[in-house]
Amino acid sequence: MTRIKFSAVWSMLLRISLVPLLLLSLQARAELTIEITRGNDQAVPVAVVPFAWNGAGVLPEDISGIVGNDLRLSGQFAPVSSEQFLGFPSKKEEVFFGDWRRLGANFLLIGRVNEQAGGQYVTEFELYDVISQKLVHSGKVPGTRNQLRAIAHKISDEVYKEITGVDGVFSTKIVYVVAKRFSVDRTDYKLVYADMDGRNQIAILNSKEPVLAPSWSPDGRKLAYVSFETGRPAIYIHELATGRRERISSFKGLNSAPKWSPDGKKLAMVLSKSGNPDIYVLDLETRQLSQVTRHFALDNEPDWMPDGKSLVFTSNRGGSAQLYEVELASGETKRLSFDGKFNARARVFPDGKKIAYIHKGEGATSYNVAVQELDSGRMRTLSSSPFEDAPDVSPNGRMLIYSAQGGDQGVLGIISADGRVSFRLPSSEGDVREPAWSPYIR
């Protein structure tokens, strides 16, 4: 079963690894480190045994460390500490299930990496159900030394999918902005591309003027974002593989908050060329621009429903910033948020049933990530630092990334969509903000 599956995985790996390999020389130091801020007592205990190494020197990447970290980051798994291990099996014959059951592990992952001629490495792994003592999943993945980290993330995706039934997001990417302020007139901005765990950072744009609001194309090949590099805000489309950029919108006034449509053919954005910020949709093929909202209030921050037929946006038309949904064909608009005086920058979950946004409660002073079920209208805040911004949803809908200001410098947070587990990705290099989570890259 797994051989066929893994040839597909392999071809996927080949494709996703092209961009990082081409730009490897530009890679920055890894400055994001993960800190657990809240744990989950209902997480599934899993033992990830260090992979055996058959090759010269030491294993080039800590495969089991990466897999364990990924599974912990999902919030749904609790890797058992390796200090408790009674042995380090790497083959079925070496596994004594009783030992693992006594440690409380429900699942056991073992594996090995074999160095081959010509710089090739073959990674094999097996996932066992400790209770039933059965093999539930296995795989064999060839790759080069530089691909071992990506292979580890792929193993995490397989383990996650096997146990939860949901696609893992450990091979996805994030982009975010790092700002280093020297004075009111001088801040250096960097748009950074990285693995979802914050590793393998590549600065894809450096600027002396603000960069913000990145949005991924649904195929994961391009970004749209706002850059002030000409001294005025404009929207750019940036092709990741080539670095080629196109200025796509530079009207008088605001050119802000671009968001790619689910079919990749359109870009929703905010323009104030008529004197006031309204929502527009640009057809990327015909370059035709259509105005979606016409209101004297401030309309802002659009995101698409998964069917592409309506947009969620922020407007202060009711006297305070609240979320609305507008159907594109009819223009029919309804209000979605009612609780508190500030609800903004919504992102729609992949199933279209929930939205994440920034919420400030009645009388509250902090701005926090909240999730609202659209059917019931039920809303709950997930996190609690003073100034949070820019929530974005992982492509499997299980995690959110956001920025948190208020300390010495901005940091990124990752939180499970149920709010049970959260992590901080602090940076030693400046103020980190404006994260955007990539789609699955296939």
Partner: protein
Amino acid sequence: MKFANVAKGVATGLVAVWLVGCASNTQTSGSGTERTLAGENNTQTAVSTPVVDPAVQAVLDSGKVTGSAEQVADLLNKNTVHFAFDSDKLNSSDIQALDVQAAYLTSPVGMGEKLVIEGHTDERGTRTYNLALGERRANAVKNYLVLKGVAASRIEVVSYGFEKPVNPAHTDAAWAENRRAVVIKEKG
């Protein structure tokens, strides 16, 4: 890229050598030229200083505002107005300064100047929301100046939201400083 830079460097060097050559030629050709140059320099060192800044005088001459030359000079230098939280309403305390700016900009002295009005916010709320709020603040200033006779075509508005705080602290005082619109004059 690298080659282009090297080529540019070489070219600059050559031009420099040529210029040095020219300079030494003029030096040897005669001393009369030097005397004339020295004479010109002497006349330029005598510069008269006006008692009142012409911009201030233009405002006083407009008859549109009242006050002493010192008061007008202070208000003319005040190029920043501040706002309440989540508001784009001008404070009455800032109106006088804007009246002086408008009087100057519509006077013969200030007529040729173009303006950029920057809008800024504090860090509360989302970055993209604040980008729009900052534009509203800059527009509030623009609309007031237009009302006072400054042509709208002379004014450009740009919002930075909270990308460029004057004070990066997370305190009420810092936020009050950061919620601002700044009028920048550019000679036409």
